[in-house]
């Protein structure tokens, strides 16, 4: 990408213009997320940098919004609910999604593409439609406003990610390894535990993380089918933003950003590990 030394001024201007444009796009992507973090330490209840903050006066910064968050029953409860719902939904989605992906890996499955399209559809259908449909159905089954209802709904929304990631992992999977295990006398369960599972684990974990993230961030279905007792963090944020946006929300947002950084790092680690296991050099 470096500029050759023989280029003329016009090319030089074009090149730096291009780099400038790219920098602006990167700024556009990252700045709105990063700017939330310092703003959440604002000592005053405003959403902009005060003079004190700009001159780095320690008095202008405080952690009051964080202590607000952790002392508020609503937020702590919401965090508990979200974690519990997301974990349960992730387990359901990962187990079902992995099984299905293993089935889809065989090359002679009839209607493979149609089945795949069907299994991915929860990711494609606009969430408002899913939410409205689930509202009618789950209310009729008395599942709305229950823990099970929201877990089932979130699991359905999370499975496409598991199916996609595990299928991708399996696409490079050498099936003769399984046959080798069989020929050495291993039964299917033993083979799965000691041969297949270690190889597809990175795909399962990243699919699971996606499912977890989907559930942890989901608000529309939660709006329609949860009651007060299953209030999740996004649901709580939603009403916070709609009614009266308070700086506590910025503190919550910063925590969520920290969480996504951690998720991202975990995924990157998994990707590298996966590449190493298969002997792909970076």
């Amino acid at each position: 990408m470096a500029l050759p030394s023989y280029c003329n001024t016009r090319e030089r201007i074009g090149y730096y213009g291009y780099l400038g444009f790219c920098t602006l796009v990167f700024l556009f992507l990252i700045a709105p997320i990063l700017i939330i973090v310092p703003l959440s330490f604002n000592a005053t209840p405003y959403f902009t940098f005060t003079e004190g903050m700009l001159s780095l006066d320690p008095e202008a910064y405080s952690i009051r919004w964080y202590s607000d968050m952790f002392s508020s029953n609503q937020w702590v409860n919401a965090l508990k609910n979200s974690t519990l719902i997301a974990l349960s939904a992730t387990i359901v989605a990962t187990v079902l999604g992995t099984l299905a992906a293993m089935g889809l890996a065989a090359n002679n499955v009839p209607f493979r593409n149609t089945i795949m399209a069907f299994l991915i559809s929860p990711m494609i259908v606009p969430v408002i439609i899913s939410a409205a449909a689930m509202y009618f159905f789950y209310t009729r089954l008395d599942l709305s406003q229950t823990f099970i209802g929201i877990v089932l709904a979130h699991a359905a929304l999370g499975t496409p990610f598991v199916v996609i990631t595990v299928t991708a992992t399996l696409s490079g999977f050498d099936h003769s390894l399984v046959r080798a295990a069989y020929s050495l006398g291993a039964n299917p369960i033993y083979t799965f535990r000691h041969v297949t599972f270690p190889l597809i684990r990175p795909g399962m974990i990243s699919g699971g993380l996606f499912a977890f993230g989907t559930s942890f961030d989901e608000v529309v279905v939660a709006l329609f089918i949860t009651g007060v007792e299953q209030r999740t963090v996004p649901r709580q944020m939603w009403s916070g933003i709609r009614e009266q946006i308070s700086p506590t929300i910025l503190a919550v947002a910063s925590m969520l950003i920290l969480m996504s950084v951690l998720l991202l790092l975990t995924l990157e680690m998994l990707r590298r590990r996966n590449a190493r296991i298969r002997g792909i050099r970076e």
Binding site: F47, V109, F137
Partner: protein, 426 residues
């Protein structure tokens, strides 16, 4: 001795078995293949059932709701029968009117009328008050009106054919009226399909606006993503991976967090307005949030990674030798870029653009929070009918139309890109 014999026996049977199957090695192979197939299907089955029950069936049920009209024929079974004799000419005969009035009184007495009246009121406004008032009056007196004058005395609106027409139109068990309404059309007093009066036309405009905004967002994303993806694909891996984090972090950050940050940044007393005033670009604070502008900015930010990532993965696979070959054959850099490089990136452009467009026409959260009055999209109208106006049939019909568009695009995506090439998170 006997033991040896039996063993010999079993050897003979085994030999027979082998010789039998030898001829049909092909069928054995087929059987093994079929077993494998069944095993695969059994692995897929649990998830297919799960998605059917928790996701697909609810959607089908919702679509059924968009054409379902059982409540009126069930509430007025006799009227439904006799209405068949009336052909929208003038007023229905006195016999039909009396059947209806009798049933109206019954429904008022067993208190199911309000629900029915609400349903009919969706079609012709004013019907609720008309039905409730007539029902109340009929309930007070024992006698039914015997002639037209007495009926009009109950309420003079019964002299207008359009109220009778509404009852006839709704006496079919299935109706297209929700879909017609979603396309700004309705049944007129002769049972024909006509345009809604102009003051009541909202949905076609909203669909057009949703498509227009989605198209604008897709194009803006493409213009911003193409150069960036090119840079990422041509940088050395170490630097590219570092910059990819800048793309992936927003992708992984909660949608609500990103929407919140745009509200905070763009609002009247927000950081961007502060910056603009401080730098002297404007002297007045600009209204950038709670309108279409805010929605588009926030949605571009949210959807940009979905455009960059497919473009990046396609560009990464394009060998630089093509470009060099074009140059060596005498093409200027720009011609080589346009004629050789860009056509090679088209799969990425198609995948990214379709994905961005599909995601943006169904967007709900961001328009609801940032859109204000002018930035609303079709999803927000669905939510309005679900939660506020409680016109669930209408919500279902709008959802059905949106779903049809999305599925058509998804089909196109599958044909062009291939479903197996969907990747998540780079």
């Amino acid at each position: 001795m006997s033991r040896e014999l039996t063993e010999l026996d079993s050897v003979v049977t085994l030999q027979k078995e082998l010789s039998k199957s030898k001829g049909s090695l092909k069928s054995q192979l087929q059987r093994a293949e079929r077993q494998k197939q069944i095993r695969s299907l059994l692995l897929i089955l649990p998830l297919v059932c799960f998605i059917c029950v928790t996701f697909a069936f609810p959607i089908i049920e919702m679509l059924y709701r968009s054409v379902d009209n059982q409540s009126v024929p069930k509430g007025f079974p006799n009227t439904t029968q006799v209405m068949k004799q009336w052909d929208y000419e003038g007023l229905p005969s006195m016999a039909i009117q009396q059947v209806f009035m009798a049933e109206l009184r019954e429904r008022y007495a067993d208190k199911t009328l309000p629900k029915l009246a609400n349903r009919i009121n969706i079609e012709v406004s004013g019907m609720r008050s008309l039905l409730m008032k007539t029902g109340r009056k009929l309930n007070k007196t024992n006698a039914l009106p015997v002639n037209h004058q007495e009926l009009i005395k109950l309420d003079k609106r019964w002299a207008k054919p359009r109220y009778w027409a509404a009852i006839k139109t709704l006496s079919a068990p299935y109706t297209l009226s929700y879909y017609l309404a979603a396309l700004d059309m309705r049944y007129d007093e002769h049972g024909n399909i006509t345009q809604q009066p102009e003051t009541r036309q909202v949905y076609v405009d909203l669909f057009t606006k949703t498509f227009g905004m989605s198209l604008a967002i897709t194009l803006i994303c493409l213009v911003m993503a193409y150069p960036v993806a090119y840079l990422l694909a041509n940088l050395p891996d170490k630097k590219a991976n570092l910059l990819l984090i800048v793309v992936l972090l927003p992708f992984w950050t909660s949608l609500l967090v990103r929407t919140t940050s745009w509200i905070v940044l763009l609002q009247n007393q927000g950081v961007i307005n502060d910056l603009l005033i401080w730098s002297g670009v404007t002297t007045e604070r600009l209204a950038m949030v709670h309108n279409t502008f805010g929605t588009i900015v926030a949605m571009v930010h949210i959807l940009l990674p979905f455009m960059i990532l497919p473009l990046y993965s396609v560009m990464k696979g394009i060998s630089p030798t093509y470009f060099r070959a074009a140059r060596s054959l005498g093409a200027t850099p720009s011609i080589a870029f346009i004629k050789v490089y860009m056509p090679l990136t088209m799969p990425g452009v198609g995948a990214g653009a379709l994905l961005t467009f599909i995601l943006s026409i169904g967007f709900y959260i961001t328009p609801a929070l940032v859109g204000g009055r002018s930035g609303q999209m079709i999803s927000n109208m669905i939510a309005y009918h679900m939660q506020t106006s409680l016109n669930w049939g209408m919500a279902a019909a709008l959802g059905g139309l949106l779903l049809a568009v999305v599925l058509a695009l998804f089909y196109l995506f599958n044909r062009i890109v291939g479903i197996n090439n969907i990747k998540v998170g780079g």
